[in-house]
């Protein structure tokens, strides 16, 4: 089992993802340079947070054209496990590996704070170790995290159960049970449609989320709730290895 963390120029959460996987979970992990088309036989790829290529056009808009993304697309299309965090999520949307797009936060400002997200689906390699309805406290840090998609895409996401995480209040109920309450009182920090914090593709092997699970992997850092996402990936890889053995 080996994880690969892609390094774009401007990635700045690459070391944090590396540390969470390598030093906290003690799993093999290596960096993959953006110019490389060789994914070094990694079994799962992380696209980390940051400001790839400066993000001067749109977030992730340049990164999707980098040499490494050609290989990541191929890897994803053949069933490989890919997780995009923050800028990585934005890049996956730009690359068309996930539906939708990220707009400027509804408050028009960068926000960094712990948020609460509810695990909506547990039948994916990113959430299989979590409980359905489990509330995770994980920080966000972004300017452009307002998840937006057209009505039919949103309907598909809901119908196919591709919404993995939704922003919520600490008690998990939001202001009301309705998924449409898209404001701060519902725990939604950025105006994302349907309080969407993270989604996966229809095949369930590619996922993205705006919160930073790699920043919530030790109690000393205020929360270790992000670990469950990486542990899920580990379990999925172990399961896959057993299945092929």
């Amino acid at each position: 089992m080996k994880f690969g963390v892609v390094v774009f120029p401007g990635s700045n959460c690459d070391h944090d993802a590396f540390y969470a996987l390598g030093n906290v979970l003690h799993k093999p992990v290596e960096f993959i340079w953006h110019q490389s088309q060789d994914l070094a036989n990694c079994d799962a790829i992380i696209l980390p947070g940051g400001f790839s290529y400066g993000d001067y056009l749109r977030t992730g808009a340049i990164a999707r054209f980098s040499p490494v993304m050609k290989s990541v697309e191929k890897f994803a299309n053949s069933g490989g496990m890919v997780l995009g965090i923050c800028n990585g999520f934005q890049t996956l949307c730009e690359a068309g590996l996930l539906p939708g797009a990220m707009m400027r936060n509804s408050g028009l400002r960068f926000i960094c704070r712990p948020v609460h997200i509810r695990v909506e689906q547990t039948d994916t390699p990113f959430t299989n170790a979590a409980r359905k309805g489990q509330i995770l406290k994980i920080p966000i840090a972004h300017s452009d995290g307002c998840y937006t998609a057209d009505e039919s895409d949103i309907a598909d996401l809901e119908k196919n159960k591709q919404i993995l995480f939704r922003y919520t209040t600490p008690d998990g109920v939001g202001r009301s049970a309705a998924a449409q309450e898209e404001d701060d009182a519902a725990g939604n920090p950025n105006g994302s449609m349907h309080n969407i914090a993270g989604i996966c593709n229809r095949e369930r092997n590619v996922a993205g989320l705006m919160p930073h699970p790699e920043r919530a992997v030790e109690s000393a850092l205020d929360s270790a709730d992000g670990l469950v996402i990486f542990q899920s990936m580990v379990e999925a890889l172990v399961g896959a290895a057993k299945a092929t053995a």
């Binding site: 700045n12 959460c13 400066g54 400002r109 926000i111 960094c112 300017s143 850092l221």
Partner: protein, 774 residues
């Protein structure tokens, strides 16, 4: 115009337009043995500007203590360096970017952060934290501030906050702390002081000394443009007038993405072993970097400007040498190994070009397409600039009497309404709206970000080792910045001592041992004797306090000419103090933890007596907010008491016997108590005070050397014993409660009694409500 510039015949009048005095011009002629050409004049003018040469402050700065057991590098390099154990060192420094931030708040603030980050990684250290110490004019209209001015100040604040955030967020360094405060005097001249901290292995530290005759000089990073020309001389070294907005072209423009690439590339290039020396291009750009590297190394240097990567065509040597384009570095490589260095920068997509060589003798030769554009002996230029012992004059003593001071409310007055006003004042109110715009958690080292502890705490992953019990431990560093301009205006020496003491106390309250300091000295025009007197007094105060508290000054900067239309800012020395926490798991935060815990006041002053309650309280935030009175004197300071308290706090943290600790500063004991409640969701507090002073003094005095603890009943005896051991007074005031209320009883009467939610609402939301009003 631009091309004709080189042919301009230099006269003393043109020198004058460059801010060079007749006397300085004569000195230039003497060093060169001839008249300078226009490029040389430009070089001298920036190198000898107040900003770069410290010509008015040098004679005073010598009085600061700079040596200490742990100091690896004191003032004079890009940043101070201290030994933090385990073969690791910390590089840290604070610097101002005040004038650019007034002219162009967003860009001014970004380049302020960018500049200080470059100073840190130029030393070979990876930046791990940034703190910002910000001062603005009043953001709510009052009798000294018109609605228009308040609106303008809110816009400046907004731009500065966005700028600070943008640079750090994109670069990938957490902005973990600092302070924000407001006084009318900063309305035309905000202060933006940025502190950066970096970590390196001790043997990896790089210095900016050119060495090795024949070694290639390499230019790396962003291309040179016409931005920021004369930023150091005309912008930073002159006061503002009505035409200051015209100085916008003197402000540099920052690009944090390029800086991030530059960071990674520089650290990687340094690891090749082929880099001999490195210097960033900050103030005075290519001029300062070439001249200082040669001067420090005792060598000459020769470069050809035609090889410098340029953003636009037709730039003259004068413009290239004086440009302050950001995100550029100059380095010296080992001859024959330049390819290794160039390859690293190519990998990161950055320009890297050999522009010259290190030469014998001491001459700096600047060519353009082979023709000599400037020829100056580097050492005399860098080290033999003018030094001024400017005249000092103490202002006439203020004649004040009781009627000028704070009028105490009648006995037994309920002070809850006043307390709410205080909690809502911008200086005291929660800064969450600001700090949430900063990435505080990237790099996953932040153990205490803004407001969680009295100091920002970042752990050092590189220091991880197995403790005696087999458990892994890590060290952490704690950092705090402080500075009270109002107190320094009333008494610069005592005010400056308080700045040091409070920063050190904040660090110790977080559990860390204060070890070193950095300072940013923001003052008015040095040409005014009363400003120089303030400066001299402040230096004495800082020196005395740093000596007493064992925190030598390792670097920093001086920012003069902070005045507009002849009116100076309050003298505002800002002190940053660094501390070491041997075991990061022992960090102490401000939040109350458990109902039933006992609230204890630690007071370093074993015996305290003042009868001048009104005079002292008149200098407080409470007096300013409630009575609009700023007068009297800052609280008397007792450095020995501060030191005892610091040692006691470090001892308590190591023993792990306290649940929370929060120092008493702006707003006094009542604010400290409330903040410990606010940080602990759902806990209240009840205390009673029995002082002989008026109630408002007991609740709101900002007298130093005091900290409020919460202690579990089982640890109380141990805490009291530790306090006795350090000769620190300890008094039980009350306890943490489960109910939603804050109660302070004074001599048997309720002085403050309020549901916590009501207090929390004004404290938590006032700033956002104010700033949402455009």
């Amino acid at each position: 115009m631009a091309t004709a510039l080189t042919e301009i015949k230099v006269t003393p009048e043109i020198a004058g337009e460059h801010g060079v005095t007749a006397e300085e011009y004569a000195r230039i002629q003497k060093i060169l043995g001839r008249d300078p050409n226009i490029t040389e004049l430009g070089i001298f003018s920036v190198m000898w500007s107040e900003h770069c040469s410290y010509k008015s402050s040098k004679v005073h700065l010598k009085r600061l203590p700079t040596r200490g057991k742990l100091v690896v590098q004191g003032p004079g390099e890009n940043a101070g360096v201290v030994d933090i154990g385990d073969g690791l060192v910390a590089a840290f420094k604070i610097e101002s970017h005040n004038h650019p931030s007034y002219v162009e708040p967003f860009q001014g603030a970004t380049t302020g952060v960018g500049g200080i980050l470059r100073d840190i990684f130029t030393m070979g250290a990876r930046p791990i934290a940034v703190l910002d110490s910000l001062r603005f004019g009043e953001i709510t209209p009052n009798k000294n501030t018109s609605p228009e001015d308040a609106a303008k100040n809110r816009r400046i604040l907004d731009g500065v906050i966005r700028g600070v955030g943008h640079y750090g967020n994109c670069f990938g360094v957490p902005t973990v702390g600092g302070e924000v405060s407001f006084e009318p005097c900063y309305s035309q001249n905000p202060l933006v002081n940025a502190l950066a901290l970096g970590i390196a292995r001790k043997e990896e530290i790089f210095l900016a000394k050119a060495k090795g005759i024949g070694n290639p000089v390499i230019y790396v990073g962003a291309k040179t443009g016409r931005d920021g020309i004369h930023g150091a001389s005309l912008l930073a070294s002159a006061e503002f007038t009505e035409e200051s907005q015209q100085k916008r072209p003197n402000v540099q423009v920052g690009d944090p993405f390029v800086e991030k690439l530059l960071l990674e590339a520089c650290l990687e290039a340094m690891r090749t072993g082929a880099v001999v020396a490195i210097q960033d291009m900050g103030a005075a750009g290519l001029t300062c970097s070439t001249m200082e590297m040669a001067s420090r190394g005792g060598t000459g240097i020769e470069i050809d400007l035609a090889k410098v990567p340029q953003r636009e065509t037709g730039m003259t040597p004068y413009e290239i040498m004086l440009s302050e384009s950001q995100e550029r570095m100059l380095l010296v490589a080992e001859k024959g190994r330049e390819r290794e260095v160039l390859d690293v920068f190519k990998k990161w997509g950055l320009d890297a070009v050999v522009v010259g060589t290190v030469t014998e003798g001491g001459l700096a030769v600047i060519k353009n397409h082979g023709a000599v554009a400037a020829q100056i002996p580097a050492h005399p230029l860098a080290e033999e600039g003018p030094v001024y012992n400017r005249p000092l004059a103490a202002p006439a003593p203020r004649v004040e009497s009781e009627k000028d001071w704070f009028p105490f409310a009648p006995e037994k007055t309920n002070l809850t309404e006043n307390f709410k006003k205080l909690l809502a004042s911008p200086a005291i109110a929660s800064k969450r709206w600001i700090t949430e715009q900063y990435d505080t958690s990237v790099r996953t080292n932040t153990l205490a970000g803004p407001g969680a502890s009295d100091a920002a705490i970042v752990r050092i992953k590189e220091s991880e080792k197995n403790g005696p019990d087999g458990k892994k431990t890590m060290r952490a560093l704690a950092l705090a910045t402080d500075g009270n301009g109002r107190w320094c205006q009333l008494n610069p020496r005592v005010g400056a001592m308080h700045a040091v003491a409070e920063a050190a106390r904040n660090v110790a309250t977080s559990g860390a041992r204060p070890i070193a300091a950095t300072n940013c000295l923001n003052f008015g025009s040095p040409e005014k004797p009363e400003v120089m007197w303030q400066f001299s007094q402040a230096i004495d105060g800082i020196g005395e306090a740093c000596t007493a508290l064992g925190t030598p000054i390792t670097g920093g900067n001086v920012s003069f000419y902070n005045e507009t239309l002849g009116k100076s800012i309050y003298p505002t020395p800002v002190i940053g103090i660094l501390g070491i926490l041997d075991d990061s798991s022992k960090a102490v935060k401000i939040a109350f933890r458990n109902p039933g815990d006992i609230i204890v006041l630690l007071d370093g002053a074993s015996e305290f007596a003042t009868s001048e309650f009104a005079r002292e309280l008149s200098s407080s935030e409470y007096s300013k907010t409630i009575a609009a009175i700023v007068a009297g004197e800052p609280p008397a300071i007792d450095l020995a008491a501060e030191k005892r308290l610091i040692d006691c706090l470090v001892g308590l943290a190591a023993a792990g016997t306290v649940q929370s600790a929060h120092d008493i500063s702006d707003g006094g004991l009542a604010v400290t108590l409330a903040e410990s409640c606010f940080a602990a969701n759902g806990l209240g507090a009840t205390i009673s005070l029995t002082e002989i002073s008026p109630a408002e003094y007991a609740l709101f005095s900002e007298r130093g050397a005091r900290v409020l603890l919460s202690v579990s009943p089982t640890n109380l005896a141990a805490v009291l014993a530790t306090a006795r051991q350090y000769s620190v007074g300890a008094k039980e005031l009350g306890h943490v409660t489960r109910d939603n209320a804050l109660r302070i009883e004074f001599q048997g009467h309720a002085a403050i009694d309020s549901p916590l939610d009501v207090l929390r609402d004004v404290w938590a939301n006032s700033l956002e409500r104010t700033l949402a009003t455009r």
